[in-house]
């Protein structure tokens, strides 16, 4: 369970987040939707302890991320790009991540296989396409077989095959009782993957509910999204 409560983030005089609050529940895929610059990444970075909130809380279970005893086995996170240094090979990157959690080397090969990067594992990350970089980022998130997945724009850069694969993967992950929180600015890709939707616009949550509730009387999630973030924007 992820619980975010009244999160405020100011940078200088600009308020990036103005009281963000929502939950992501086990067994469900929660979509965190909003246009670019709405505050999605900022929220996820605070949730992962990378950035500090001006006020408010973001909890994994009942503790902030930085207090987790075994972070990799609890939360798998993927933010921008691959999260790897370009001069290292994909396998070397996953190996140091595995070492930080005391995971066996064999686990590295398992996740490489899961994301379909086995044949590219000995190449330097700098030579990867965006799609491959994203797969490597996902492989790192999956290393510890975590209860919770937090993915920032997971379908960005993936080819249609990859998008289809990740949808199925996330649905299965949630079906086994785990928690999935993903952000996206692409509504079409998301409608078929998510159970719950949180819509964020200019640092505020403008809608929070199940996919059906949010879509409501609109034809598609996309229509609902544009109505929420343009027409009815507070």
């Amino acid at each position: 369970m992820i619980t975010i409560d009244d999160l405020v983030k100011r940078r200088g005089s600009t308020e990036i987040l103005s009281g963000i609050g929502f939950q992501a529940r086990p067994g469900r895929v929660t979509g965190f939707l909003g246009p670019n610059g709405a505050g999605k990444s900022s929220t996820l970075r605070i949730l992962l302890g990378l950035d500090r909130a001006t006020s408010g809380t973001a909890l994994i279970g009942s503790v902030p991320f930085v207090q987790l005893r075994d972070p990799l086995a609890t939360v798998g996170a993927m933010l921008d790009g691959s999260g790897a240094h370009r001069a290292r090979t994909g396998r070397a990157h996953l190996r140091w991540v595995a070492r930080s959690a005391g995971l066996p080397r064999g686990r590295v090969d398992e996740v490489l296989d899961m994301v379909g990067l086995t044949s590219a594992a000995s190449r330097r990350v700098g030579s990867y396409s965006l799609g491959m970089a994203r797969r490597l980022g996902l492989a790192a998130a999956l290393l510890g077989d975590p209860e919770i997945l937090i993915l920032d724009e997971p379908v960005n850069g993936l080819d249609p095959d990859g998008i289809r694969w990740i949808r199925t993967f996330l649905r299965e992950h949630a079906a086994s009782g785990r928690t999935v929180l993903l952000s996206s600015h692409l509504m079409g890709e998301l409608a078929e993957t998510v159970d719950d939707v949180v819509v964020i616009h200019e640092g505020k949550v403008v809608a929070d509910g199940t996919l059906d509730e949010i879509t409501g009387s609109h034809r598609t999630l996309e229509d609902a999204f544009f109505a929420l973030t343009t027409g009815n924007a507070p």
């Binding site: 990378l50 001069a87 991540v97």
Partner: protein, 254 residues
């Protein structure tokens, strides 16, 4: 320990670290070979009787460039941003989601850098002194018990220099400025040395004080600083800088 193992694994798989290692061994060894062969011809011509007591040690003071590169890239690699086409990510996000405690992460990294640099300094000292003795032959200054603390001083100086470079790079989050300034200071224009011309206090700057741990005779020496004092002064500089770096690192957004 897991965090340290991860940091060691990072260093070992980063090509820039191997460049630093190669530079650390080659720079002092090659300079030592050149100086020693010119000393040798001076001695055989009868212009001098014996090589100076600092043969090899002077070169090891220059060779610290390898330690500087090591200290800088260990942390700058965390902040290196991928191209926009690859998603514009940085490794620091992966590092801090794997080891969320900033202090633990930093301590693990500092330990890994210190260990790697100590190993590098031992290898570089061995090859540099080996080169001096091979080239000078019978004219080489005799190695004795006296050299044990001096070589210990070399290792200390290299590790401390790597940590100074590391601490500065934690603050800048970028390799270019610390690399340029620190390498220039040890090779092209030794600003800290020039400052000693203006004020004797400059002798207490970290590098000027630190070299006293193993270099016996500095050019135009005006201030007497014992090897132990020199080492303690440099220790203090390193400690202060690392505390500042740790405070900045734990407080700011990653």
């Amino acid at each position: 320990m897991r965090a340290l193992a991860a940091e060691a694994s990072k260093l070992a798989s980063l090509p820039a670290v191997w460049i630093a290692m190669a530079a650390g061994v080659l720079v002092p060894s090659v300079i030592a070979a050149i100086t020693a062969s010119s000393t040798r011809s001076t001695v055989t011509r009868g212009a001098a009787t014996v090589a100076g007591a600092d043969a090899g040690y002077q070169e090891l003071a220059f060779g610290v460039v390898g330690a500087i590169i090591l200290g800088v890239v260990a942390i700058s690699s965390e902040y290196f941003t991928e191209s926009a086409e690859s998603g514009g990510g940085r490794q620091i996000t992966t590092s801090l989601t794997a080891v969320p405690s900033r202090l633990r992460f930093l301590l693990a990294k500092i330990s890994a850098v210190a260990i790697a640099c100590a190993v590098l300094a031992i290898i570089a000292s061995g090859t540099t002194m080996g080169v001096v003795h091979v080239v000078l032959g019978e004219h080489a200054p005799a190695m004795g018990v006296d050299d044990v603390p001096r070589l210990g001083g070399v290792v200390c100086y290299w590790v401390y220099t790597a940590l100074l470079a590391f601490g500065i790079t934690v603050l800048t989050r970028h390799a270019v400025i610390p690399l340029a300034v620190l390498i220039a200071n040890t090779s092209v224009v030794t600003v800290t040395y020039l400052l000693t011309k203006i004020t004797p206090l400059a002798n207490y700057l970290p590098d000027m004080a630190g070299v006293r741990m193993f270099v016996r005779r500095l050019p135009d020496d005006t201030v007497e600083i014992s090897p132990l004092t020199g080492g303690l002064v440099m220790t203090a500089w390193v400690a202060v800088l690392l505390v500042i770096a740790a405070v900045a690192f734990t407080r700011r957004d990653a």
